[in-house]
């Protein structure tokens, strides 16, 4: 119900200012972007889609920040695993 899907905005539609097309893994749907009327929205922007409406513009910066942090956490562990694998005597 509270399902929200990130989608890439590919087109604003001429027939109505609130209409746009998003792409989710190559799948397209018309959505209503009226709730983001005060954002500058254009092709290439990502939005969170909920029941046919764009609820939020996704910030790539914020997204990357979290990922960097998480990957930073993960790195030592991955390094250790790699070491384990290469030392395998089989």
């Amino acid at each position: 119900m509270c399902l929200g899907i990130p989608g890439e905005l590919v087109e604003r539609l001429p027939e109505h200012e609130d209409l746009a097309v998003v792409d989710v893994s190559g799948v397209r749907r018309r959505i209503n972007v009226g709730l983001l009327a005060d954002e500058a929205l254009g092709p290439g922007d990502w939005v969170l889609v909920h029941v046919g409406f764009a609820l939020s513009k996704i910030s790539e910066l914020e997204a990357q920040a979290v990922l960097d942090y998480l990957n930073g956490l993960g790195q030592p562990y991955e390094d250790e695993l790699d070491a384990l694998r290469t030392s395998d005597i089989a």
Binding site: V24, S25, G26, V27, R29, R30
Partner: protein
């Protein structure tokens, strides 16, 4: 056992009880291929018709005629829309029955076709359907040898329903059944899953979604024949992953064979567009129907060879080993998620999808 485990064990026992239809009326869930369909089949159809040939509830029945083994199967097709990217009800009706015969290990030979047409149905559409049935039959090397046509008043059907039945010969020394899986066996899917169901959903245009997804409908007899020829003794189970999807098929195997199946999410082939549709609609691709993919359980030691054989056929180019059979917990399908966790994969409950076949 702690209290949670005791409760869960009791639930598993209850799940194994004789299924009962509690509903007073048929709902769409009864036709979705999942739990309600199974319950209906077992509590109503199997109950009324009970006989040893029907009891296994495999894709078809195995008959003995003289010295020959004959497979016999039927499917009704009510897909909406009738025409969709990659196919139409006509080739679906032929391929569906060809595939059920193939899943019995049979070489499909002859089909029957019963049509229920709605008054007002365009004759041109009917010709388009029969043409594609003829083409599908030719491709599968079967003939449509007998048929029937009924017409019902406008508003009493949905354009065109087709029921095909088929007979085929089991020529290889195989014994296939959903109940033949054993611990150590490998579970293989013949290609990317969910394309048919996703294509139908988009073709209905109920959700305003567009994607370049084409139904996977295809006749599977040839690829199956190659697999069986390569290892007649090592193939335990064949089942096409239609309504209810791969999840339901694998559950059928786990139940019938009283084994556990462990699937590995990372290895299950799903095209990105199918993933996209599923995400948008909150569906799980494991439950989305295919019409040209099958699941096979093979002896674990021959799984690599089976994969080779499948991949050498165009319809199996993306075949993958997606799981293994374990002894316990019997009747349960588990999924190792891509995230590194584990969860249960149950049969489909309810009807998340429009009429797909």
């Amino acid at each position: 056992m702690n209290r949670e485990q005791q409760v869960l064990a009791r639930i598993e026992r209850i799940r194994r009880r004789k299924p009962v239809v509690r509903e007073e009326r048929i709902t769409l869930a009864h036709g979705a291929g999942g739990k309600a369909t199974h319950t209906l089949i077992e509590a109503v159809f199997l109950e009324a018709f009970r006989n040893p040939l029907l009891a296994p509830l495999d894709d078809g029945a195995l008959l003995r005629v003289g010295g020959e083994r004959l497979a016999f199967t039927t499917d009704s097709f009510v897909v909406s829309p009738l025409f969709f990217p990659g196919g139409d009800i006509g080739d679906l009706a032929v391929n569906g029955t060809v595939n059920d015969l193939a899943m019995c290990g049979a070489r499909p030979a002859h089909l029957s076709a019963g049509f229920v047409l709605e008054e007002g149905f365009p004759v041109a559409d009917l010709r388009r359907i029969t043409d594609s049935m003829a083409a599908a039959a030719a491709a599968a090397d079967v003939t449509i040898v007998t048929g029937d046509t009924k017409v019902v008043q406008r508003g009493k059907a949905d354009g065109c329903f087709i029921t095909t039945a088929g007979v085929g010969l089991v020529e290889q020394p195989v014994t296939l059944s959903a109940s033949h899986a054993r611990p150590g066996d490998a579970v293989i899917v013949s290609g990317p899953i969910g394309e048919h169901g996703a294509a139908i959903m988009l073709a209905r245009d109920d959700f305003g979604i567009e994607a370049p997804i084409v139904s996977d409908t295809a006749p599977l007899h040839a690829i199956v024949a190659e697999l069986l020829a390569a290892m007649p003794q090592h193939v335990r189970t064949l089942r096409d992953a239609t309504r209810g999807g791969v999840a339901t098929v694998v559950n059928e195997v786990a139940n019938a064979s009283e084994v556990a199946v462990v699937l590995r999410e990372d290895d299950i082939p799903v095209r990105p567009e199918v993933t996209g549709v599923c995400e948008l609609l909150g569906l799980d691709p494991l439950y989305v129907a295919c019409e040209g993919r099958f699941v096979t359980v093979v002896d674990g030691e021959h799984a690599g060879r089976a994969l080779e054989v499948l991949r050498s056929h165009p319809l199996g180019a993306e075949a993958a080993i997606i799981g293994t059979v374990a002894a316990a917990p019997a009747g349960l399908v588990l999924l190792r998620t891509a995230f590194g966790g584990t969860r249960v994969v149950d049969v489909l409950v309810g009807d998340p999808l429009p009429r797909i076949c």
